[in-house]
């Protein structure tokens, strides 16, 4: 943790040999630590992807590098029906997988969309207008929304189970979407309120003087400016919903089961077929890894909004 202050003025002419050695040592230390942690972060992903290509023998010998340690085969993907030679054949496993995959996409995108929609509206209202409901002012209303964040899923899980049974929402996509919306809504409101606070109120006022209604101002003026923030909130919600397991395990069965539930249910049955598990895990993480690499900017924007205060 030491010696990481950027040494920008390193090319000082009056540098002694000892100072120079120390500086080089510092650089080596920094890059060593960086590479070490990059390895820690990426190796499990690498391990999972390569395991999809291993036969049982290669797995039990702990072989690591394809082509060098072992001869890669499509074994893991074949078991999912996604390898080049099985892709055009009928496969029940693939049908099940694609069904779960679709459920995950619908649940996470639907919930994120709904949360960003109603969350942005509420955040804009809280950022611009003074509300009063009973004894609650803006501060209290904000707190009411944010306090939902500390509610642990277990508190809601059993009441929801009973409630959804009565409402015939158990094991439906719409039911899981509503629940996920609830879990990400506080985060969306937090991010979006911060976003709207950074947009000057004068802009709204000027537009209103020009004859736009309150909603006109929001949709025509403020929304385009706040769009990057909304994308950030959407992506962060997407990550949280895509990875959610607890509610999905309790409230979905045959119809609306999502990908994490499928991954979890594979283990334990009649020994583990490592390659198949690896293929399933790879496909479960692949969309988010791609999003992480391509849209990293937005994830960081979403995470840091509001946290600086």
């Amino acid at each position: 943790m030491t010696a990481v202050t950027p040494n920008t003025m390193a090319v000082d002419t009056g540098e002694t040999a000892a100072e120079r050695n120390k500086r080089i040592l510092g650089r080596v230390g920094i890059y060593g630590a960086l590479i070490f942690w990059a390895f820690v972060s990426l190796f499990p992903v690498y391990w999972t992807i390569t395991t999809t290509l291993k036969t049982a023998r290669d797995v039990t010998q702990g072989n690591i590098v394809p082509w060098v340690d072992f001869k890669p085969a499509w074994i893991g993907w074949r078991s999912l029906g996604l390898s080049p030679d099985t892709i055009d054949q009928v496969s029940t496993v693939r049908d099940e997988f694609l069904g779960r995959f679709l459920n995950s996409i619908i649940a996470s995108c639907g919930a994120s969309f709904l949360a960003v929609l109603i969350g942005s509206l509420a955040a804009y209202g809280l950022s611009r207008f003074q509300y009063k409901f009973l004894w609650m002012r803006n501060k209290d209303i904000s707190f009411f929304f944010l306090s939902q964040l500390i509610l642990p899923p277990v508190v809601l899980a059993l009441p929801f189970l009973v409630l959804y049974k009565e409402l015939a929402l158990l094991d439906t996509r719409i039911g899981i979407i509503l629940l996920y919306t609830l879990t990400v809504l506080p985060i969306v409101i937090w991010i979006m309120r911060d976003q709207f606070d950074t947009i000057p109120v004068e802009l709204d006022e000027a537009a209103q003087v020009d004859g736009l209604s309150v909603w006109g101002v929001f949709f025509r003026i403020v929304l385009p400016i706040a769009l990057p923030g909304m994308v950030a909130a959407f992506i962060l919600s997407l990550i949280l919903c895509w990875n959610e397991y607890f509610f999905a395990a309790l409230l979905t069965g045959t119809n609306a089961k999502t990908l994490p539930v499928m991954v979890a249910s594979q283990t334990g049955s009649q020994g583990i077929s490592w390659w198949a598990m690896a293929a399933l895990a790879t496909s479960a993480i692949a969309p988010l890894v791609v999003i992480g690499i391509v849209l990293e900017r937005y994830i960081i924007k979403g995470l840091t909004a509001g946290a600086g205060k």
Binding site: F133, I150, N243, G292
Partner: protein, 371 residues
């Protein structure tokens, strides 16, 4: 909800948009009509469920639709009655009505369930049993063990914080390929805990051929078993969870570091402070507010820890790795013990609220003292 009044009602008069009395009456009628409809649907359904009344729906869906209809009517009435002030209220109404419907109602319903004897696998239905569940809770050693484990898991947030701070400092240093390292460090945060339990916990830590086990053998642990003993299992679970969530803390801290004025550090360096001194005297104190936010957020998420435990150890060995959430999950899954499980959850919620309130108070007092 009808009197969600913006405190600046004068704007409507300024804008010259007076509301005609007839319009107001129409709005009120709309509210009353919608409310009566909602009440009627609930009444009919309740009677139907009790085996009486004129109609019987298969489920409570109609009540849900009636609620949605009611919510729309309330929103429309706001605009009709109060004009522009109503339009402003319309921004916050969807989120408020949604949250009330899906949080307040289930929470109160949960409170009721918590005081009943209700096992889904037995034929007897729900039966009110007063504080029996609460008494049982106090004698449930597994529950208290799980609470103790939560103390361990929450305390480990400080270790996660220290590592994350180190990584943030590394990323903030004058380095090449910063974007690559930032993305690489962020990747674990994107991964689903369930997939991670498999990828790392079940595969990399596999006793016979997992690379991590091989590494542990090299380092002198003759028979590595990451989930065998109570302590090893707790630390392994914590390591998995830390691996996923350290990037989250790191990103928050990195943003804080980048927002920090460079001149301060330059000045310290010119004054001859060593990097170690300048970190503890300048960087760390300046980062305290961001650190507090990051750690509190992380603790809030940590208190929900369940996925990894359910998938890796299912609480074992002997409840040593149980978090409260995973223990309640087991209560429900293995024993269908809905009433008791809900009481455990409600008790946990009360503890969390007390803990978070104390924590927030402590932090805000500490901040005042320091700054």
């Amino acid at each position: 909800m009808a009197n969600l009044t913006p405190t600046t009602p004068s704007t409507t008069e300024i804008l010259g948009d007076p509301i005609a009395p007839g319009r107001k009456a129409a709005g009120r009628a709309l509210i009353w009509g919608a409310t009566i409809l909602l009440g009627l649907v609930i009444l009919v359904q309740a009677l139907g469920a009790a085996g009486q009344g004129p109609m019987h729906f298969d489920n409570w869906r109609p009540a849900l639709y009636a609620y949605v209809l009611w919510a729309i009517a309330i929103g429309a009435a706001q605009v009709i009655i109060r004009g522009e002030a109503g339009q402003r209220a319309l921004f916050i109404l969807p989120a408020a009505l949604f949250t009330i419907a899906v949080v307040i109602f289930p929470t109160f319903f949960g409170l009721y369930i918590a005081f009943t004897e209700w096992n889904l696998s037995s034929f007897e239905g729900r039966r009110f049993n007063g504080i029996d569940n609460l008494v049982e809770l106090f004698h449930d050693s597994f529950y208290w063990k799980a609470l103790g484990n939560m103390v361990f898991y929450v305390a480990m947030v400080l270790v996660e914080y220290a590592i994350a701070f180190g990584l943030a400092l590394l990323l903030n240093a004058d380095i090449r390929a910063r974007k690559f390292f930032r993305v690489a460090f962020l990747i674990p945060f994107m991964l689903s805990p369930v997939a991670v339990s498999w990828m790392v916990g079940k595969s990399l830590m596999e006793v016979r051929f997992g690379p991590l086990a091989a590494l542990a053998k090299e380092l002198g642990w003759s028979q590595p078993n990451f989930f065998g003993s109570a302590w090893a299992a707790s630390f392994s679970i914590e390591a998995l969870d830390a691996w996923v969530s350290i990037p989250f803390i790191m990103i928050l801290l990195l943003a804080g570091l980048q927002a920090m004025p460079k001149e301060v550090q330059e000045a310290a360096r010119v004054d001859g402070a060593t990097p170690w001194q300048s970190f503890w005297r300048i960087t760390f104190p300046l980062m305290l507010p961001v650190s507090a936010t990051a750690v509190i957020l992380r603790i809030i998420f940590k208190l929900k820890l369940a996925d990894i435990i359910i998938n890796m150890t299912y609480g074992g060995p002997g409840g040593a790795t149980d978090s409260v959430s995973s223990y309640i999950f087991r209560q429900y899954r293995d024993r269908s013990n809905v009433g008791y499980g809900t009481m455990l959850a409600m008790f946990y919620l009360v503890l969390i609220i007390i803990f978070i309130t104390l924590l927030l108070n402590f932090v805000s007092k500490y901040m005042k003292k320091v700054t």
